[in-house]
Every structure is written in structure tokens, then in C-alpha cells.
């Protein structure tokens, strides 16, 4: 039930990046609301979305920063990238130009995040097969060459949207488990809930034995 109590052990920060009109906000909306937003306004600056998911029995809150794709906002996006544990890099399979710009988005993502940030490539609008302009194979090859995870999705039908967000979280969680992601690093983008907070502020979760920070 919606009103039910919840609790989470981690917060993961995600950013969604990519050209204007590739469907970033629609992907976010589909993931958080399970609905397709037909007339989506241009994102100005950044919008936030959150959802609590479960990975290996652990509740994780995703804090998703949905960025503006317009070029003129590009200069102000430094703080968007900082501390992101996951980056979803989106292009539109029906518009080759959005695919061609991926290397520039990837450069930003690599330069502005830490080496452990999981980057997931999403080819959106997979429902528009007839208008396809970028093949699955070439995008897959690009992803492999750059060490990215990859899926084609449709924000409209919801196909693979859950998978993209959840696979990213699983990968981040795995990095934490095998120690490759250092939670103590200031910009890991992951906040673990200490089990005995001295003075934690908690706005949502019920009081529990672990006592969650925030």
C-alpha cells in the first residue's frame, strides 16, 4: 500500500543525459509512474525523480536527475554529474544525429564522474521500428567498445525501461559488494545508511531498529 512504511539502505544518484527530444523525461516518467507522458514539456535545467527499488533484498532509493538536453543548458550541468553512481545515456533510434553525438556525451560523463560510475546506453523509441535509423548491432558494438551496458527501450510501451534502471542498480550494488566502489570516497554517488547514526534526520521512514540517517 502506498501509505505503508518504507525504509531504504542506500541512495544511488543517477543522471539521464543525451540530446534534446530523445525521450529522457519520458523514460523517467515511465519508470517512476509506469505511464507514458504523451505531451512532455522541455526540461529546463534539471528535474528530479525518485523510486525505491530492491536489489538482493536491499531497499535502494534511486535519486534520478533528469537533465535538459538542449545545448544551451550544457554549460550549467557540472553539478548534475557530480557524485552520480549511474549515468543513463540516451539516444533516439530513429534519429541518427542523436546517436552521432554520443561520444561527446560520453566524454562529459567520463570527465565529470568518477571511474566507477556505471554508464548505461539506452536506444529509446524501439516501438518505432519502421523509422529506425540506427541498427541494434552498431549501437551494441559502440557500447562494447566503450565498456557500456546497453539496451533498446521504449518509454512509450515501457519495454526494457525497468530493466535499464534496475540493471544499472544491480551493477552499482555489485561494485559495492566486490569493493570496487569505495563508499567513503566523497563523490561515490552512493549513500549508505549507517546503522547507528548519532544524529540522523529522517523525514519519511518509520522509526526502526537500524535508525536510518535521512
Amino acid at each position: 500500500m502506498a501509505a505503508g512504511p518504507y525504509n531504504y539502505s542506500y541512495i544511488f544518484k543517477y543522471i539521464i543525459i543525451g540530446d534534446m527530444g530523445v525521450g529522457k523525461s519520458c523514460l523517467l516518467h515511465q519508470f517512476t509512474e509506469k505511464k507514458f507522458m504523451a505531451d512532455c514539456p522541455h526540461t529546463i535545467g534539471v528535474e528530479f525523480g525518485t523510486r525505491i527499488i530492491e536489489v538482493s533484498g536491499q531497499k535502494i532509493k534511486l535519486q534520478i536527475w533528469d537533465t535538459a538536453g538542449q545545448e544551451r543548458f550544457r554549460a550549467v550541468t557540472r553539478s548534475y554529474y557530480r557524485g552520480a553512481a549511474g549515468a543513463l545515456m540516451v539516444y533516439d533510434i530513429t534519429r541518427r544525429s542523436t546517436y552521432n553525438h554520443l561520444s561527446s556525451w560520453l566524454t562529459d560523463a567520463r570527465n565529470l564522474t568518477n571511474p566507477n560510475t556505471v554508464i548505461f546506453l539506452i536506444g529509446n523509441k524501439s516501438d518505432l521500428e519502421a523509422q529506425r535509423d540506427v541498427t541494434y548491432e552498431e549501437a551494441k558494438q559502440f557500447a562494447d567498445e566503450n565498456g557500456l551496458m546497453f539496451l533498446e527501450c521504449s518509454a512509450k510501451t515501457g519495454e526494457n525501461v525497468e530493466e535499464a534502471f534496475l540493471d544499472t542498480a544491480r551493477k552499482i550494488y555489485q561494485n559495492i559488494q566486490d569493493g570496487s566502489l569505495d563508499l567513503n570516497a566523497a563523490e561515490s554517488g552512493v549513500q549508505h545508511k549507517p546503522s547507528a547514526p548519532r544524529n540522523a534526520i529522517n523525514t519519511d521512514q518509520p522509526a526502526n531498529k537500524e535508525g536510518c540517517a535521512c
Binding site: V46, S79, T203, Q205
Partner: protein
Amino acid sequence: MAADVHQQIMPLERKFSLQDSPRSPTVLPWDRFSNWLHCACVVTFDLELGQAMELVYPGHVKLTEREKINICYLSFPDSNSGCMGDTKFHFRIRQCPGRKNHILAHDDFNRECPASLQIDNAYYYGYVYFRQTKDKSIRRGYFQKSLVLVSKLPFIPLLEHMVEIMAPEYFDNGEPSLEAACHDIDQWPEPTPGETLNLPLMGSVVQVRIPSRSDKVIGAVQTKTHTVPQIPVNHVLQSIHETDLFSAFQPVLQHLQLMWELVLTGEPVVVMASSPTLCANAVQALVSIIWPLKYCSDYRPYFTIHDSEFKEYTTKTQAPPAVILGVTNPFFAKTLQHWPNIVRIGETSGDASPRAVLKLKKSSSLKTLDSKPGVYTRYKPYLSKDKTILKRLSKGIQLKRPVEVQSAMLRRFLLELTQSFMIPLERYMASLMPLQRNISPHKGPPVLKPFNVEEFLKTLDHSGPQLTSGLKGDWIGLYRKFFKCPNFDGWYHFRQKEVNQKLQALHLEALCKEDLVNWVRDKQEVEIVDLVLRLKDKMISAQNNDIPVSMDIVKKLKCHLHSIISSLPEDLQSVLKTHL
């Protein structure tokens, strides 16, 4: 100690509302009208088409085809019962899904009104005034027409009063009178709970008081001192929602408590009567038999074979749905003979001679609506009968006591019965409340403990209904049956929501007193953003009136947010500020 704390937490006062917010200043024509009515319809009998919609007023109002068809059929008597002259009754239909005509005044109303009067946005009521007279100038020689007021409001006496004023005027003078009446209604203030309103309509003024959740259920109605009526009032409506229980139940008064149990536990009930007026009044009386508890299933004061839910509700392949239907067409006697509970209301002859519960007879005896009044059921009541009330009422009949007084006695008896049943539940619910001292800014808001049926039943030994009611019987059995029905779910979720909102509010107040800026100092960015986002969510909830806190608290929270954000790196500040 614990009890004191509960009392501190329980009262749910709303300290502010957004009346002054930017939503009100621009009132458009028909905005105020739609607080009260969706539209008025004129339904006529066309010799070629049968019932047909002649007029919808105001013209811009939308009804789907299905809604129009339902309104057409439900606005006329369903059987050949010879409703000569003028007939008043009401019906209830489902609004076709997917249409958004949300009225903000209705949200405000729902927040403050008694739970049992809350507007259900999925339904419309139709308040009908039907006229059938001989008219030689018309082919076939009959004038047959209905004026119908379509509204979301469950104010039966008020809307019936309105249609009673408007319809004769319309039949005499045509559309201009309808236009004038609707213009009057478009000047009316919002139906704000607790207010006494003077409502001008076609040259007269009706004075009504809108019931409020904080009204005492039993006892005198409180009126606010500042709402002393200033205009001379032609008509004071004693109640906008309470119908005449006594007249509605008179033929079956002997089975009062049986009917109370049937409605309380959400049993399927069909009311068969000889006219739409009788069946509508009886269904409405049944729905209100458990007030202040809200009846949570569907009910149709008047239901016909043309209704779009006819198949759904009369199918024999499934158990009868837990709804209350009022019917007049003899055809239903056969269609619904498999229903477990049938209430037959004969003509009101004024004779209310006591009859025993008739056992469900063979179907042959149920074929017509001429069967004797009574309740045909296999249901065995859990509680014994209170004979005193029946004696008092039958004495009232002998003494020719006014029906209003008889109804008031009946309503009081039923209220006390329902309260005897509910008080142990309310008391148990209060024991599930967390203590005030568990509310801390360093923890989440505490939540209500889960409802445990067995634990509740254990409390009945020392604080059960026997404290307030002398009735003997299997109360535990009745509770168990009640827990399985929608009325319990409805009550529980309503209470749960109320309590959780209050806890949220108290938690928010606690947060406001905390030095959040200091707390944020050694936290990571992700965590601070998380805090900012959640404080923002809380603020939105508070501003939307989902959390009952004062504007002062909201302001303080805003200050906190600004200071937290100001303590952050500049680029992040600009990101977060656009979201406030």
C-alpha cells in the same frame, strides 16, 4: 498516561485552508453552478422514440451517450403503475469512466463533511420531477415529461426541494424559467461544511445548514454565531441529507434491526416497491440506517431493466453483488428471485401491522410485486430485537404523532445502535496509536499499529457493546461478518488516513524545530539532496491540504529549506532553487 497522549493526538483539526490561495479570485460563469449541479435535463416521451432527452441545460455541459440513455430511462416510471399527476424520486448512476470534471469545492467539502456524506466522484444522482397529465391537444392524449437535476451531491431533501420548485415553473413557462433558476444557483456560495447558507431560488430563499465532521452526531445542531441568518427566509430545511426514515420503513418496521444488520454487513439487498418514489426512499433509508458509518458499496435507489449495469448486477452466474437496488418493475421479481435478501414495500396504506419475517418461499410466490410487505431472507440476525423502540413507534402511530418526530426517534435509536457497535472499534483503534513521545525529527513519523481481529475481540469482554447497549446476542459473530465487508474496509482506511495525516503533521512540526542546517554540515551531497527533495514533497503535501498543519509551519519549513540550500555549493544551489 497513555490515554492522555491519545487524546492529544486524536483530534483532527484543520488549522488552515487554501481559501485565500490563488485558486478563487477568478470565478467564471457556471463555476459556482457546478459546485451544486452538473446540469438540468428535460426528458420527454416521444411517440416514435420513447424516452428522449429534450434539453440539457446549461448547453455546454457534457454527458456521454450512455449517461444520457441512463438518465432518460431512469427519469420515467419503469412499470405501468399509473403515476398520474406529479411524482418525485431520485436515482443514482455511474459516471462514465475517463472523464475528468473535478470540482475543487467538492474536495474541500469532502475534507470537512461527515464521512457518510462524502461525494463519490464516480456517481451522479438524478433528482426527478415527473409529470403525467391528460392533454387532449397531444396525440395519445397524455403529457409526460420529467425535469431532472443531475448532481454529485447526496443532499436528497435539498435537491428534491429544488426540483419541486423548478419543475412546475418549467412546465408552465418553459426554458426561460430554467435559465433563471440556474442563474440563481450560479450565485450560490460553496457548500462549506458547518456553514448556514441562504440559497435564493426563483424568488424564495431556502436556508440550509451544511453538516460538518465536527458536528455532534447526537444532540442539537450547533450553529456558528456569525452565520445568523440575515435575510428573511421562506423555507428552512431542517436537514439537507436526512430523509424520512419512518415513512420509508413503515411497512417493514418490524424488521428494522434485521435490515440494520443486512446493511451493516454489506449483504446484497433488493427493495421491491410499487413506485419509484417508494423504492428510492426505502433504499436511501437503508443506506442511512448505519450512519454515522458510511455505506461503502454501490446502491441504486431506482434501478431499471434498461440500466447499463443491468447485466452486471442481475447475472446468475455469480453470487449477487453486495449492493442495494430499488426496483419497481414486476419483471425483477423473477430476475432477482435468487437474491438472498428481498425487502418488499407495499403501498403505504398507513397500516403497519406487525408481521413476522417471512422465510424465503418458493419462487412461484415471488412472481409478482403484489406479495405482502416484509423481508424475505434466510439471514439469521445475530442480535435480539429491541422491542421498546417498536412499541414506542406503534404508540406514536396511535397517537398520530407527526412523522418527523417518529423519524427522529427512529434515527436516534439507530444512531445509538450503530455507535454501540462502533465505540469498541474506535477505542481499539485509539489503542493502536503511537505515543506522542515517539515523534522525533531523528526518526521517521511513527505509524499506526496493524489492526488485529483476535486482539480486538479480546477487548470486548471488558469494553464491548454491552456497556452502551442492552441488546443480547452474538456480537462477536456480527463483528466477524462485518470485518469481511466493504463497510469495515472503508471505515478502517478512513481512520488510518486521518491518523497518518495527523502523525505526518506532528512530525513536520518536530522537524521545523530542529536545526537542520547544523545536521546537514557533515553530510554528503546525495544525502542532502535527498533531504531537500523529501522536505519539498512534504511541503507540497501540506500546501495541498494533505497534511493538516498551519501556514506558519509551512513557512518555517520553507526557511529551513532555503538555509539548507544556501549552505551548499553554488552550482547545486541554483539547481535546487529552481525546484522551490
